[in-house]
């Protein structure tokens, strides 16, 4: 017990200061570079993410792999302080349309088990996703379509994958 306390707090105030500074520096570097903390605001990702819930975004997720369908990602606007959290529905080169609340990708109905409520008035004419684009929608399909932000976006807007 004494050894553990000595490791954590230390006997020397100088050493404690250095340890705390190093810890704070490492924490700062981690949280500002590859694990961005964020808060979900709004109801567009419910029930998966509740309003006010905390999450971590891994900005290194797509350095080696491409975003996959079903991934929850963060999409930047003018910068990283305000971002959209959405689920990727369609990948580059695909066609997508919504008929009575059901998403069709390349004319096949897309199974979305994460959706609890579905507003059948959601209808969207066919969209073609370009090579450098993705299509994302939030999980709350119970809300009216005009109040839900979704659509195609450029791939360089992806900040990272939401870890939890």
């Amino acid at each position: 017990m004494v050894t553990v306390r000595r490791i954590i707090v230390g006997n020397n105030i100088k050493h404690t200061f250095i340890r705390a500074s190093l810890f704070a520096l490492v924490f700062y570097v981690i949280c500002s570079t590859f694990l961005l903390p964020c808060t979900a605001t709004g109801s567009s990702m419910e029930p998966t993410y509740a309003d006010g819930s905390w999450h971590l975004i891994n900005t290194f997720s797509y350095r080696t792999a491409h975003p996959a369908r079903g991934d929850i990602i963060s999409i930047r606007l003018a910068g990283n302080r305000i971002m959209y959290l959405k689920r990727i529905i369609a990948l580059p080169g695909k066609r997508l349309r919504i008929v009575n609340g059901t998403v069709y990708i390349n004319d096949k109905a897309f199974d979305e088990p994460y959706i609890t409520f579905r507003d059948l008035s959601w209808n969207l004419k066919e969209q073609f996703i370009d090579d450098n684009e993705y299509f994302a929608i939030g999980d709350n399909r119970g809300m009216p379509m005009p109040h839900h932000t979704f659509g195609k976006f450029d791939k360089n807007r992806i900040v990272g994958k939401v870890l939890f």
Partner: protein, 166 residues
């Protein structure tokens, strides 16, 4: 022992504050932007505010020639206006986007780029607060021109972060 723990906590708090604090650009353009983000008195209109905003957001286009700025929108309450001064511009933006008297707008992630000695563009995220439900977020691009030593807004354009073909 207590001193060490207090010092550790203080350092962690300072670092966390640095991490989550905003990084504001302190120049003339930023000052103008701050002045834009004040709240304004707008006519109270309780008729379906969110829908009114949704319509405006979809169709509003701000554009200008020199200092005459005008707005085109399908908002039934604001067809078209000619604006010749900053105060009217502010009121128009507010009117276009809300009918709420407690409406405020914050500009976040401001990226200022000087394109020449007398022209600059500002790319930022505008967050409108004051609605009963969610905040409204819009990515915008503001173009500035320096006229007689003062930076004036010449154009405000909405940027579609995510789009669908209607």
């Amino acid at each position: 022992m207590k001193t060490k723990i207090i010092i550790t906590l203080v350092i962690i708090i300072v670092c966390c504050t640095l991490l989550f604090s905003s990084h504001d650009d302190k120049d003339l353009i930023q000052q103008q932007l701050d002045s834009l983000s004040q709240s304004f008195d707008t006519p109270s209109n309780n008729k379906n505010l969110l829908q009114q905003f949704a319509d405006t957001k979809k169709y509003s286009v701000f554009f200008s020639d020199k200092l005459n700025i005008y707005i085109k929108t399908k908002n039934p309450f604001l067809k078209q206006l000619n604006i010749s001064d900053k105060k009217t511009l502010r009121k128009t933006i507010m009117m276009a986007r809300s009918g709420s008297p407690d409406f405020t707008i914050d500009f976040i992630d401001t990226n200022i780029k000087l394109t020449s000695n007398n022209q600059a563009t500002l790319h930022c995220t505008a967050v409108a607060k004051g609605f009963k439900s969610n905040n409204i977020i819009q990515e915008i691009m503001i173009t500035y021109k320096k006229i007689e030593g003062t930076w004036l807004i010449t154009q405000i354009k909405d940027i579609e972060t995510m789009k669908v073909n209607e």
